[in-house]
Structure formats: C-alpha cells, structure tokens
C-alpha cells in the first residue's frame, strides 16, 4: 500500500510492479502528481548542492545517472543541458573552487568556467555573470510525463490507483499497521509506504508519536512564453549574500521550450497555501533578470507556487517507522527529489526487503510509455496518424497543437484523466500562451462526452472545482 501518487509514490509503485504482489496507491487528489511533483522546475540536478555524506547527495547523484535510460525506456522527454551555477560578484569568486570541491566530494563532474568559455556555454548570460561552476550532467525532463509513464506502467502490471481517496487514519495492532482508514473506506495492507509529500509527517503521526516534522517552504515559479531569450542551460546563482531564504532557484528551459524562472523560498504555515504572491513573483524576477537581462522583454504566461516538503534536518528520510514494523517512510523529499526519484525508489525497495517484504518477480512485466502525442510525431508520422484517425485532424489546443485524439487517449488512460487539469498535465492542452482560453471549453466538452455527464459537471481539478454553473436560460 503506497500513500501518495507523486513522482516518488509512482516510482515506487513501478518498481513494486515488477513483483507478483498486490499493490495499491492511494491519492487524495483527482490526479497523479498534484503535489510538489506538479509544481517544480523539471530539473534533473547533477548533485553539486547537497552536502557531501547526506542521503540527499547520494540519491541525487544515483538518480541523475539513472535518468537517461529510464526516460528512454518510458518514452519521457529528457535532455542533458548541463548546469551553470553563476557568480555575479567577483568578490565571491572563491565560491567557485569551493563549490567544485563539494561537487567532487559528491562524485559529480564539475569545472570552473570564466570569460569566453562561459559565454560560449551560455550566450544568453548578461554582462554581470563573472564566472560559473559548470556541471555537464544536469538535465531537464517533464515531471508530469514521467509520473504518468511510471503510473501507467505500474497500472499495466496490475497496480491499482485509487484517486480521490484520502488517508485519514491507520488501523494498528501489535506493532504493525493493519490497514488504513480513508475517505472511501478501509483498506487492509501488509506493507505501507508513506510518500505523502508535504503531509508525510501527518501520515506518520497516524501510526504513532511524531517521528519527524515537515515545514512547507513555498517557491514561486514564473513561466515564460516560447520564443523568448534562448537559454540553453540550467542557470543558478552562487552567492553568500542576500536573504538566506531566497537561496536556490534560477532560470531553466523546460523540455517543451518554455523558460521557467524561480523558485524563491519562503516558509509558510499552511500546507495548502499554494497562492502566488506579488512579492514572491517580484523577488524571483528581480533576482534572475540580472542573470539574463533579455528576460525583461519576455512575455510571462503563467505563475505558480509549490510547497517543498522540508524537514528540520533538510535531508531525505527513507527508513522504517520507529513504531511500526511494516511501515516505511519516504519523506522530506524536497528538491532535488525529482532528480533523485529513481534512486529513492530503488532504495525504498531495498528497505522493504530488509523489513521482510518478499515476492516472486513478475515474468510478464511490461513497460507502458504514454501514447505519443500528435505534436511529438515527425511529419510523415503525422500524415499517417491524421489519415488513419479523424480525431487527429481536429486540433483542440491551438497553442500546443493537441488533437482531439490526444485528449481522448488521456481520458482513456489506464489511470484515466477525469478533469481539465489532468488532461492538461498529460497533453499540455491549456499550458500554452492562451492558458486554456481557447481549448478549455473544448476539452471540457470532450470530458463530458467521454464520461457521459453534462458539461456543467466537469471540474477543473476534482470535487468543488466546478467549471460552469449550468445551462443558460435559453
């Protein structure tokens, strides 16, 4: 039993689906990846930041190494862009060799670049960039597609995904968790894995006295339209100065060509508070426009905020519960949790084995990459697809060229999309420059048709998020 269908929960589900075990994933939201997994930069960090010796450092480096193969296997976009951690103040140049030492201690390739070499690596950098640490192993991926592909593969191998099912308590007895109590009834389980992201401490608390606490740390990210400054690398800032809470973040290209700027960092009290603040946006833009001045003329198309699941020790937690023999915590998975996710899943399986879990492997396990979208096909394939399928002749989302058949495929996925947001995560319909103004009603119409419900019962992201009030008077 896995609690939480973020990238970590889904990666663990996929690993477990290689075995002949009954696996079920419980997720509170109406879709996969609605937590941190749906609000990050998609950067596959190289591992230059985490302090040497930490679990974070180890899993980050191992996860990064596993990414190219995993993405190829699952049909998920991945690009090695490399990362430049930039110093803008010559007085802070000593940070470069220091960071290089740290990177090397983590086993990460890195070198210091300055002047011409730096501009050659990233022509978009402004005059303020003095020097940088260059880590060629950094990459970018699409967190939604990755999570979907992991879940899809798991589902094809028999894993059951129960969405809109919130774990509210645990049934415990004699030092073991017997099952969980949810908003949709009780589920019995022999093994429970807690991957509940920002709420992992609350879930842990359902099984006994507190073992750790998580304090949500908010970060705003601004999305810029394609066709803006051509930034080819992941860019970060190395600095000792400034607000310690605004550490991290940067500018990075996303696999679909948009530019992401941010995040900042700010502790918040409310675990649901993903509101974007004017102040947060301003700080992020002020800070990073200095790196790439051309950003000032670029067009933003959206802003969102994510909550990192930070613990006080700031390290990942992948260990059995102190109170329950069959409960594994996979918690505190903040950045670079996406990059580390393949290694986290592998470690979680090792831990489960140490705890006594065993099952024969599944000889017929399949890999089920998501169907390729029309946009991803080459011209000849597009011609074929459009000839064979009238649904590929109807473009539903103009900004991202998503066809009716792309949307229908998402609605019929093994872990089906049922809401506007879920379709957006799977197809990008609504993520483009018009932000759903054009495709929103069209996608909603398809959802209504596929599910056999009236248009006004379609939601944006599950119960309570109704899109339309009802029919007009005539």
């Amino acid at each position: 039993m896995i609690i939480g269908a973020g990238v970590v929960g889904c990666a663990i589900a996929r690993e477990l689906s290689r075995y002949q075990a009954k696996v079920c994933v419980l997720e509170r939201e109406s879709d996969l990846g609605c937590g941190q997994t749906g609000a990050n930069n998609g950067v596959v960090h190289p591992g230059i930041d985490p302090p040497p010796g930490t679990l974070k450092a180890r899993l980050n480096v191992a996860g990064n190494a596993a990414f190219p193969r995993l993405c190829r296997e699952l049909g998920v976009p991945f690009r090695r862009t490399g990362l430049l951690a930039v110093v803008t103040d010559p007085e802070e140049a000593m940070l470069l060799p220091l960071s290089k030492l740290r990177a090397e201690a983590n086993g990460v390739k890195a070198e210091v670049v300055e002047g011409e070499d730096l501009r050659r690596l990233e022509p978009a950098l402004g005059p303020g960039a003095y020097g940088a640490l260059w880590a060629p192993d950094a990459g970018i991926t699409c967190p939604f597609r990755l999570t979907q592909a992991l879940a899809r593969t798991a589902a094809r191998n028999g894993v059951v995904f129960e969405l809109e099912t919130e774990v509210a308590g645990m049934l415990v007895g004699r030092g073991r968790v017997r099952g969980v109590r949810t908003t949709r009834g009780d589920y019995l389980a022999r093994w429970v894995v807690n991957c509940a992201g920002v709420d992992a401490d609350l879930v842990a608390g359902m099984a006994g006295p507190p073992e750790f606490t998580i304090h949500p740390r908010k970060g705003e990210i601004v999305v810029f339209d394609r066709g803006g400054p051509a930034v080819g690398r992941v860019l970060g800032v190395l600095s000792l100065k400034g607000d310690p809470h605004s550490k991290g973040g940067g500018i990075n290209p996303a696999v679909d060509g948009n530019l992401l700027v941010g995040p900042g960092a700010r502790e918040v009290a409310d675990r649901r508070d993903t509101a974007v603040s004017a102040d947060g946006i301003r700080k992020v833009l002020d800070k990073f426009t200095r790196l790439v001045p051309a950003l000032a003329r670029a067009t933003p198309i959206a802003a969102f905020a994510g909550l990192r699941a930070a613990t006080y020790r700031e390290d990942f937690i992948v260990r059995p519960s102190a109170h329950m023999d069959n409960l594994l915590h996979v918690a505190g998975i903040q950045s670079p949790g996406l990059a580390a996710s393949p290694a986290i899943a592998a470690m979680a399986l090792g831990q489960l084995a140490d705890m006594g879990f065993s099952a024969p492997s599944r000889p017929d396990a399949v890999v089920a990459p998501p169907p390729r979208l029309f946009r991803e096909l080459d011209p000849a394939e597009q011609t074929q697809a459009a000839a064979a399928d009238p649904g590929h002749r109807r473009v539903v989302c103009r900004c991202e060229t998503v066809t009716e058949s792309d949307v229908v495929a998402a609605l019929r996925d093994p872990v089906p999309a049922t809401t506007l947001e879920a379709v957006k995560r799977r197809t990008r319909a609504g993520m483009g420059r018009c932000q759903g103004a054009f495709c929103g009603p069209r996608v909603a119409t398809l959802i209504a048709r596929e599910r056999g419900i009236p248009l006004w019962e379609v939601t944006r992201a599950g119960p309570g998020s109704w899109l339309y009030a009802g029919p007009t008077r005539r």
């Binding site: 802003a303 000839a387 002749r393 060229t401 009603p441 008077r473």
Partner: protein
C-alpha cells in the same frame, strides 16, 4: 460546437470539406471578417482558385459569438448582429466562388509559401501562390499580467465567457467581477447580467473606460452595473472554485493606494485585458510588420484584419482584408514582390502605427494609429528625422480609439522622401483637457 443557438445559422457553404489539394492561387488562413473579405476581394480582382481555411467548423471567426448588434454600420449602412454579419460576408465570398475548407488548422507556414494543414482529409502540405494570414486575435490572460493569488476554477477571459454563453449555452458562474472595461468586457458584463449572473462590478485600472461610451451606457448604466475607474483586481482567492477577489484603488502608476483593498466575494472573474494579434504561424519567420498593401516581410505572404492591427470595428477589419485580398490576387497573377523603401515608426505620442513599412509600389496608403494623447484639435505629423513630411489635423482623439489617416498620391510622394519616418502626435489644446498618457 457546431451550432449557434444564439443567432441565425450561417449559410451552408459551398465547397466545404472539398478535397484539400491542387493548385491554389490565394490561400487565406482564417475565416473571420478579414479573411472573408480578403478571399472575396481576391476573386473579384481576378484570382483563380481562392481557398479559405479555418479551424472552426463554420465561417465567421469571432463574429458568431457576438450576438449583440452594431456590426457593419459603415459597410452595409445597417446594424447587424455578429452572426448576421458573418452570414453576409460568408455568403458574399461563396457567391464569387471562394472555396471553404472549414475544420482545418494551419499548423505551420514556411517560405515558398508553404502551408502545413491538418483537417478535412488529413494532414498535407499546400503550396499556394500567395497566402493571406487573417488569424485574428487572442486575449491577454491573467498569466500575462502575473495576477497573484490562487489558481481556482472560475477565471475566464471575456471572449471565452462570451463563447460559453452565446455558442455553447453554458453559464460560467453566478456572481461575477469583471476586470477591465474594454468593449468585450462590457458586452460580456451585460450578457452575464441578462443570463441571471449577478455582476458585482467592472474594475478598470485607468481613469477612463476602455470601451466605447455607447457600450458603457448600454451595457453597464442601463443595467445598474457599477463601473469602478482607477481600480483593479489585485488578488484571486479560493482553493477549488473561485471564492472572491481583492480589489483596490490604484494611482496613475498602477500602484495600490494604501487602505483601499477590499475583498469581494464572487465565484467568477472575467478578465478583459486586451487583445493580442495572433501571429502564431509567422513566428520565427517574420514579425507582424506589413506594408501599405498588407505584405509581410515574407515573400507572397500577407497579413490582415485584427492579426495586423487591433481595429475598433468590423468595418475597418473588412476594409483591411479587402486590401490584402486585392494585392494577393495581383501577386498570384505574377506581379513581382516589391522591395521596402521606407520604415514607418511610432514616435512621441503615438503607441502604434500600421503599416510599418512602405513598398516601392506604394501609391497611396491608409495608416492606422493608436495614440497616447487625448483632446481636441490634435496634430499628427509624419516626420523624417529633422522635418515634417505631412500633417493631419484631428478634431477629437482618445487613446482608446484608433484613428485612420489617409495619404493620397501627393502626400505619399512626400512621405517616400526618407527611408525612416515617424508618426508623432502633439497633445490637444490644454483648455480642452488635452494631455499625454504614458504607459
């Protein structure tokens, strides 16, 4: 999505879903009033095969969702509703032998010109002699202005809301706040009100309404909908569905005035933040600059209608389409593609001017401008670096209304004396309230 319950049906169009192949003289992308006018004009000017492609299943562009009247006063001397105007324009084009490929999206454009189309019978590459891009506008969104807050359901652009109500028969919500007072916003406010959705108010950041006075009176005052000038929405609230917005008074620089924040409960926010020309298929090829006959920087490709300049009325859009269509027919028949001989820029007091270039073939031109000045008795000059080349006097101008200036052969001859000319506008008489608006 095919039906238009809000208005009379569009005429059945001859040639719809015909085989998408063969030789094409003029291919028009977009069947709004600009595209329809361009296509009909091209046929009338002697073009052989003229095809209009549009991703919608019926022609008319944005018009079928504009069920209010007031369209075509200049063109037809009569006030039509949007669907009626569309029906007329489509009928006219069909009568002169224009072919319609509805339900067809232009995915990409390339030099040649070459168009990648998907629809009707599949995906294909078309190589027409000329292409007229008439793809209209899209709306500025809350994302473009980075409006802070949560991201719940219930935030719609005015155009989307208009489409939901008038074309799809769906009510977006029960209590709405409208942000921005452009014409589309005003018209949607009235529509929502008439459909039983309470409109709490319209909030406009400037100190003047963005739309026509006529619309302020007929859409708001007549229905008791408050208009808050110098106010804007500063934050969005609600986790799942919108629960409210924070509104505030702002100063001339758009900064929130202390102590004026107020939370307004509502389940719907309509954003009417302006229109942006849809130049998607020109991206990476050429910018949206056109010359006096709507030629783009890409050989044998034209741009017209709201995609070239956000016009105030459909009549201007139609005239602009006609200009492009006529020129396209001539180039399809073999007329050489001209060089550009002058650049036209917006100078002091002028926000935008179209055309942005003059070609060697230019004999006359019609300039469309958006000004930053208001007042009475305003002088607009077209200047070379050091001297005025031509002057126009305007009785009354305002930043919210476009102005059109004509240059006949004599004036144009003078304008072509320099390679770069800038349009400038001096504020109107002080006592008449003239001033410069800065953005």
């Amino acid at each position: 999505m095919g039906g238009h319950p809000g208005g009379p049906g569009i005429v059945a169009v001859r040639g719809a879903h015909a085989t998408m192949s063969g030789e094409v003289d003029v291919c028009v992308v977009g069947s709004g009033p600009a595209g329809l006018a361009a296509a009909a004009a091209a046929r009338r000017a002697g073009a052989g095969r003229v095809v209009v492609v549009d991703r919608e299943t019926s022609p008319g562009g944005i018009l079928p969702q504009c069920i209010h009247d007031g369209f075509g006063l200049e063109e037809f001397g009569e006030a039509f509703t949007g669907p009626e105007y569309a029906e007329r324009a489509a009928g006219d084009a069909a009568c002169v032998g224009v072919e319609f490929w509805q339900g067809t999206t232009a995915l990409a454009l390339g030099p040649g010109p070459e168009l990648v189309l998907v629809g009707g019978s599949g995906r294909q590459v078309l190589r027409p002699r000329t292409v007229v891009v008439a793809t209209g506008c899209r709306e500025r969104t809350r994302g473009n202005i980075l409006l802070p807050g949560t991201r719940p359901a219930g935030v719609f652009t005015a155009g989307t809301a208009q489409r939901l109500i008038n074309v799809m028969g769906v009510l977006p919500g029960r209590r709405a706040v409208v942000m921005g007072s452009g014409d589309v916003g005003l018209i949607v406010a009235r529509r929502l009100h008439l459909e039983g959705c309470e409109v709490e108010g319209v909030y406009e950041i400037l100190t003047r309404p963005g739309g026509l006075v006529r619309n302020v009176v007929q859409c708001l005052h007549d229905h008791g909908i408050p208009l808050h000038l110098g106010h804007t929405v500063v934050e969005v609230h609600g986790d799942r569905r919108l629960e409210g917005v924070t509104v505030a008074a702002v100063d001339a620089d758009g900064r929130v005035r202390q102590g004026t924040r107020r939370r307004v409960p509502c389940d719907t926010l309509i954003t009417s933040l302006g229109l942006i020309p849809e130049l998607e298929i020109l991206r990476g090829l050429t910018d949206g600059t056109v010359d006096e006959s709507m030629r783009t920087g890409l050989e044998r490709v034209f741009l017209c209608g709201n995609a070239a300049f956000v016009h105030d009325t459909v009549d201007c859009v139609t005239a602009c389409g006609r200009l492009a269509g006529r020129a396209a027919a001539r180039h399809a028949a073999g007329l050489r593609w001209p060089r550009r001989v002058a650049r036209v820029e917006a100078g002091e007091g002028v926000r935008q001017v179209v055309p942005g270039a003059l070609s060697e073939l230019a004999e006359a031109a019609r300039f469309h401008l958006r000004l930053d000045v208001e007042g009475f008795d305003v002088e607009v000059q077209a200047r070379a670096r050091d001297r005025p080349l031509a002057r126009w006097r305007l009785r009354a101008v305002s930043p919210t209304q476009a102005v059109a200036l004509t240059a006949g052969p004599a004036r144009l001859e003078r304008l072509r004396q320099d390679r770069t000319l800038a349009f400038v506008a001096r504020p109107g008489k002080e006592e008449a309230g003239g001033r410069i608006h800065r953005r």
